[in-house]
């Protein structure tokens, strides 16, 4: 065990798997010599060389498309988008070619697509997006979103080993802010939810960076006992864990950093509305970014992203319901 940041845990997972599986190949812009825009692959170039830590042309469709090709002949490419926002430029290859290949042709596409996502540091409209729900709505893609260092390592390893295309949401704002004990060597985190805190009066469901916002917001909230459920995986979605938590607490708040409409949280809310009707003692409350681009200027950005205060207020109101 050693303590490391969320970022280092991702690096550690990639490195561990690359050492044990020579089929793993990293592809992306500036990931080699430079070590990546966020330094996730710092030092990899020296250890693994240009062939396995490939500095690609600036071409997202090509990164995904060639990775698919390499995968179906036996490599296990991990693609980095420099920011998750740029996946819009490789969208077609991901949702059409990669996602549907196994269903259509019985041919698995073992690629992992790393998407550094999220806001909170004045990245503005093109460097702050949380695009996960687009991929939840593209059958054939798995989507995971760790919130802790431990899970970051375990999920990136599991993603590389999963024969399906896996979209790995890594939240930029967690990279260096979040630290934790991480086991040495190789392990996999299952694509299932995790109870981040036990509780009885209300459950808050979140994933990625919002797990931390939620934990902070619900610590010592007027003495209430609040469960926090960290989804970890969005596809597959751990429906059982969600329904169990709601059954146990009878009240639920769902928090998304993404824009509200058709976000992951909308799916979770819809699930609960359909399956937990008799368990609910109050409305299914959502907290999310409103439907606008994520603004650059700090006061504007702070007004848009779900804050500790907004989550706390939502919980307080629901507790009183």
């Amino acid at each position: 065990m050693s303590e490391m940041t969320y970022l280092k845990a991702i690096s550690d997972g990639l490195r561990t798997e690359m050492r044990s599986d020579e089929r793993v190949l990293l592809m992306g812009e500036d990931i080699g010599v430079f070590g990546g825009a966020f330094k996730v692959t710092d030092g990899f170039f020296d250890e693994f060389g240009a062939d396995r830590v490939m500095d690609t042309p600036l071409a997202e469709s090509a990164i995904i498309g060639t990775a698919i090709g390499a995968a179906v002949v036996g490599l296990r490419p991990v693609c980095e988008m420099q920011f998750s926002d740029f996946i819009a430029c490789g969208f077609d290859q991901l949702v059409n070619t990669a996602a549907k290949m196994y269903y259509r042709q019985d041919l698995p596409v073992n690629i992992t697509v790393r998407l550094p996502s999220g806001g909170g540091f004045s990245g503005g409209p093109f460097h702050s997006q949380n695009p996960e729900s687009w991929f939840m709505h593209a059958p054939g893609l798995k989507v995971v979103a760790p919130s802790t260092a431990e899970d970051a390592k375990g999920l990136i390893i599991a993603a590389m080993r999963d024969p399906n295309p896996v979209v790995f949401m890594e939240h930029k704002h967690l990279y260096r802010r979040v630290k934790g004990e991480v086991a040495e060597g190789s392990y996999e985190t299952p694509f299932r939810a995790r109870v981040a805190r036990e509780g009885d009066d209300l459950v808050v469901i979140a994933y990625g960076a919002m797990v931390h916002t939620v934990l902070e917001a619900t610590t010592d909230l007027a003495g209430a006992s609040i469960m926090v459920l960290d989804l970890r995986s969005l596809v597959p979605l751990d429906e059982e864990a969600i329904l169990d938590a709601v059954r146990h607490c009878s009240k639920v708040v769902i928090v998304d950093e993404a824009n509200e409409t058709c976000a992951a949280g909308a799916q979770v809310a819809a699930l609960i509305a359909e399956r937990s009707f008799e368990d609910l003692d109050g409305p299914v409350v959502r907290v999310a970014s409103p439907d606008c681009p994520i603004p650059f200027s700090p006061p504007l950005e702070a007004a848009v992203l779900p804050s500790v205060d907004r989550v706390r207020e939502a919980c307080r109101q629901l507790l009183e319901y």
Binding site: A62, G65, V72, N96, Y103, R104, Q105
Partner: protein, 353 residues
């Protein structure tokens, strides 16, 4: 300028060197073209009878392009065939019965009814099923070639695409990537003069074969209705690819002799153009070549038709897929990690030497 620039201008038309083809090869090429035309004609009938659901597209008049190019490929090479390239599947070893089942959405089709018409590729013969979005497969082929190069394997990847497809960004991203990495990939531009109803002058100002030079590799324009010329250009490109000489763009100039799909009467195509090209029919041409060599083409034709009859019967007798399986197979199970493309048939005598 900190650039390594390799200026390779487009070369002249490659001519067939018959030394590479035995008489059996040459009649084999004809046989596959005959079968492609026969299967598509049959499928069109089945479509008109309502037995092929959805829409129907064929490669009538373009048989030489898919058959000629895939004939040059070795068993370990990998292919992505497009919607005019039924011949490639036949060459690689997919049976006519499987193809007809595929068209009809039957369980025995390559995709078990999950995808339609030519949107398929049998992974057991080294083919990736095409994505409809054109030309996505150029990048997939480039990626396969990248893996071959990284592993130091003497194999190559090949894909086809049309004149219209050259307008999309993925064409460029693939050409550029393949050029930068000097990959063993062959791009066959099937220039059939139209993209659906759109003539090439609305698609590009300069013939795309000219662009190869701007990516640092060879571009060659050939007669796409001469199956042996297509074979020879591809064979040469494959040799270069395997030898580390990088990609090749082959423009096979041909003509789409049917509408874009079965629903299209192609009123927008000048009649004279169609007439002109009818005289260049690739099957007629290869028939002449093979007949001159003393082969009995009529017997070959009869053999093909007999095989097709049987295939049709088999296909028609097969069941439709079970609706309860509709949502199976969205995700591969963990142990599917070892399922990859497998080797296909490689009929050219040169591969057996």
């Amino acid at each position: 300028m900190a650039t390594s620039s390799t200026h390779v201008r487009s070369g002249p038309t490659t001519h067939t060197d018959p030394a590479h083809l035995t008489t059996d090869d040459r009649s084999g090429l004809l046989r596959d073209m005959l079968m492609m035309r026969a299967v598509e004609a049959r499928a069109m009938n089945l479509y008109r009878q309502g037995k092929v659901p959805g829409s129907f597209y064929d490669g009538f008049g373009q048989e030489a392009v898919s058959v000629g190019a895939s004939w040059a490929m070795a068993a370990a090479d990998r292919l992505c065939a497009l919607h005019r390239d039924l011949g490639a599947h036949l060459v690689r070893g997919v049976s006519p019965a499987t193809i007809l089942s595929q068209y009809m959405g039957r369980e025995a089709g390559v995709t078990s009814g999950r995808d339609g018409n030519v949107h398929f590729g049998d992974r057991r013969v080294g083919c990736v099923g095409m994505t409809s979005m054109l030309p996505d497969m150029m990048l997939v082929a480039t990626g396969m070639a990248m893996a071959f190069k990284l592993r130091g394997e003497a194999r190559c990847a090949l894909t086809w695409f049309g004149d219209g497809s050259t307008s999309r960004g993925d064409f460029h991203e693939a050409m550029n990537w393949a050029g930068v990495q000097r990959l063993p990939v062959i791009f066959v531009l099937e220039n059939n003069q139209y993209a659906y109803s759109t003539p090439t002058n609305l698609q590009y100002a300069v013939d795309p074969v000219q662009r190869a030079a701007g990516y640092g590799f060879r571009g060659v324009s050939i007669d796409g209705n001469d199956v042996e010329a297509v074979f020879e250009a591809t064979r040469e490109a494959r040799e270069r690819a395997i030898d580390g000489g990088g990609p090749t763009l082959i423009e096979a100039v041909t003509m789409r002799m049917h509408g874009h799909g079965a629903h299209d009467d192609m009123k927008y195509v000048p009649k004279a153009l169609v007439e002109e090209w009818r005289k260049k029919d690739p099957i007629d041409r290869q028939t002449a070549v093979v007949s001159a060599l003393g082969c009995d083409v009529e017997a070959l034709r009869a053999e093909v038709l007999a095989e097709l009859e049987q295939a049709t019967e088999v296909a028609l007798a097969g069941p439709m897929p079970d609706p309860r399986t509709a949502t199976d197979r969205v995700f591969a199970p963990r142990d599917a990690g070892e399922i990859l493309l497998e080797d296909g048939a490689a009929p050219w005598s040169g591969h057996r030497q």
